[in-house]
């Protein structure tokens, strides 16, 4: 059987490949931006589906009306959920969904034929959505500044640096997890089942629905160990000033450890998956 992996040319050296990627990347990004602009209505609808933090904010506001919950009073909840919304919108992507589709209907074949690794292509697709995402996020950030300027991590330059690094880390961690999840589609008919479960677990343990501090003990213990907090809660907590510089630095190290681990695992699973992949008619 002639799988797509057999047909691919021999792997070039790392330096050659990197040079190739660097040359192709600006074009890939331009195409990506053009696509996002062309499907802007669709893009906006996708963005609007991220409305759960606002509902949770309304809920916690009602709860905190008669006194704060732990460290969280009403203003803190507002800052937290606006932060969640901003970070989530800036870093999320739907790679697993796209990969599952492309593996099933064979669109992946054309990507495998290109002279750069398909993962760079996917990364370019999702990176190029970032300018549009920032555009959408900016009103939320303004709202965040207006409502809770005093609480934000702007007094300490080291926290600002950590915040920047944590956002990049969060993007990479989400991206690699999505590759990992999407690769399941190489092995089973549809990755949607595991994907749905992942969304559920992520919603609880990433701080998307509930600030991790407010969780009951056992759930908080789980959240401390699981990688989900580094995708969302960690940058948000840094942003709204809930973390001390020391804690933030420690968490940053843990986050990047997870990034490296997930990245390595994702590449392994992807490579094994592509070997199994027998393309359908493209």
């Amino acid at each position: 059987m002639n799988t797509a992996a057999d047909a691919a040319p021999r792997r070039p050296g790392a330096a050659v490949e990197l040079a190739r990627v660097l040359r192709a990347f600006p074009t890939l990004l331009r195409i990506g931006v053009a696509e996002v602009v062309a499907y802007r209505a669709e893009f906006l609808v996708w963005i609007l589906t991220t409305n759960m933090p606002l509902v949770m904010l309304a809920l916690w506001h009602a709860v905190a009306a008669d006194g704060p919950v732990g460290r969280f009073d009403q203003t803190q909840f507002t800052a937290y959920y606006l932060g969640v919304l901003a970070v989530r919108l800036a870093t999320s992507n739907w790679m697993a969904w796209q990969m599952s589709m492309e593996i099933r209907d064979g669109t992946l074949s054309t990507k495998l034929l290109r002279p750069i690794h398909p993962l760079y292509g996917f990364a370019a697709d999702h990176l190029s959505a970032i300018p549009m995402r920032i555009l959408v996020v900016s009103p939320i950030v303004v709202a965040l500044f207006v409502t809770s300027w005093d609480r934000l991590a702007r007094h300490d330059p080291s926290l600002v640096l950590v915040l920047g690094a944590s956002l990049v880390g969060a993007w990479l961690l989400v991206f690699f997890s999505m590759v990992l999840l999407g690769s399941i589609a190489f092995y089973v008919d549809s990755a949607m089942g595991p994907f749905e479960l992942w969304i559920g677990v992520h919603a609880i343990f990433s701080g998307y629905l509930i600030p991790l501090e407010v969780l009951p003990g056992w759930a908080r213990a789980a959240a401390d160990v699981l990688p989900f907090r580094f995708m969302l809660a960690f940058p948000v907590e840094t942003l709204v000033g809930l973390l001390s510089p020391g804690d933030a630095a420690r968490q940053l190290a843990a986050q990047w450890l997870y990034v490296a681990l997930t990245g390595w695992l994702a590449l392994r699973v992807w490579r094994a998956g592509v070997r199994r992949y027998a393309a359908f008619g493209g």
């Binding site: 509902v55 506001h61 919950v69």
Partner: protein
């Protein structure tokens, strides 16, 4: 023969027969994937359990939120779970297929059949494993009422069931409206995700939104996108906290919704030009 020339009884019998056939075909198709049935059922149970965590956390902090106790809020969650089972099991699979039909032009084959097109497309596909969700909903109801220590009366259950029917009608009508949009803009599969995310609001009693923008958001979710009618009001009915006037108004609103949806669907269908032509 057009329906208007038949007696209503013959009309009803004919469509009941058609419904049976469609159901059998859908079940046969779904039963081919038995492993899928079990796996997805299990995932659904896990999911439902996960979605209870925010509720447990919130009511771990306060005994009452926006006038609702934990047990009462659980009744809302029960309705939500039940309706999601209906939505994902019976409503959205068929209607997602319509979008595909419109895009590919295969709706022609449906339109050529001598039966109402809306009926045919709406009963084309079911996902029987969602029954697991419905069972989970019943478990939630039982738990909530056992903890409260009193069960709803027959009349309250009857009102609840009427509201269930109403909720299904509204759910279905909104979906028909979304699908009708496919005739104009073609690509609406992500509208279904938006729909799903807005429907998620129904997990909570609508009163938690009372404080947002002086209740504007609450009005939106009661009248424009009536999630409140689907989960909070039925829960109020079961708890015996719904007065007759509100109930009557809600029912009237639901029927109005269905009528509008039917008219929009007819309009949209008139717009349809097959993809090949």
């Amino acid at each position: 023969m057009p329906p208007s020339l038949q007696s209503p009884l013959a009309f009803a019998t004919r469509y009941a027969g058609l419904f049976r056939v469609q159901m059998r075909m859908a079940t046969l198709a779904a039963m081919q994937y038995r492993v899928d049935f079990v796996v997805r059922g299990l995932i659904a149970v896990l999911w439902s359990a996960l979605t209870l965590i925010p509720l447990v956390v919130v009511f771990g902090v306060r005994r009452q939120v926006a006038g609702w106790s934990f047990e009462e809020a659980l009744v809302v969650v029960g309705w939500f779970t039940l309706l999601r089972a209906v939505l994902e099991g019976a409503v959205s699979p068929s209607l997602t297929a319509v979008v595909e039909h419109v895009r590919k032009g295969t709706l022609d084959f449906v339109l050529l059949k001598p039966a109402d097109a809306q009926f045919l497309v709406s009963t084309a596909k079911f996902e029987p494993w969602r029954i697991v969700d419905a069972v989970a909903a019943v478990v939630v109801f039982c738990y909530a009422f056992t903890k409260m220590g009193h069960w709803p009366s027959i009349a309250q259950v009857a009102t609840g069931l009427v509201f269930l029917a109403l909720a299904v009608v509204i759910l279905y009508s909104i979906w028909i409206l979304v699908v009708s949009a496919a005739f104009w803009v073609v690509k609406v599969d992500n509208l279904s995700y938006l729909f799903g995310s807005l429907f998620d609001v129904g997990r909570w009693p609508i009163d938690v939104l009372r404080g947002v923008w002086r209740g504007t958001l609450m009005m939106v979710f009661t009248f424009v996108f009536p999630v409140a009618l689907m989960t909070t009001y039925p829960a109020l009915a079961l708890l015996g906290r719904l007065d007759a006037k509100t109930a009557a108004l809600a029912l009237g609103g639901g029927v109005l919704f269905a009528v509008i949806a039917r008219r929009v669907w007819r309009r949209a269908l008139a717009m349809y030009t097959s993809a090949s032509s």
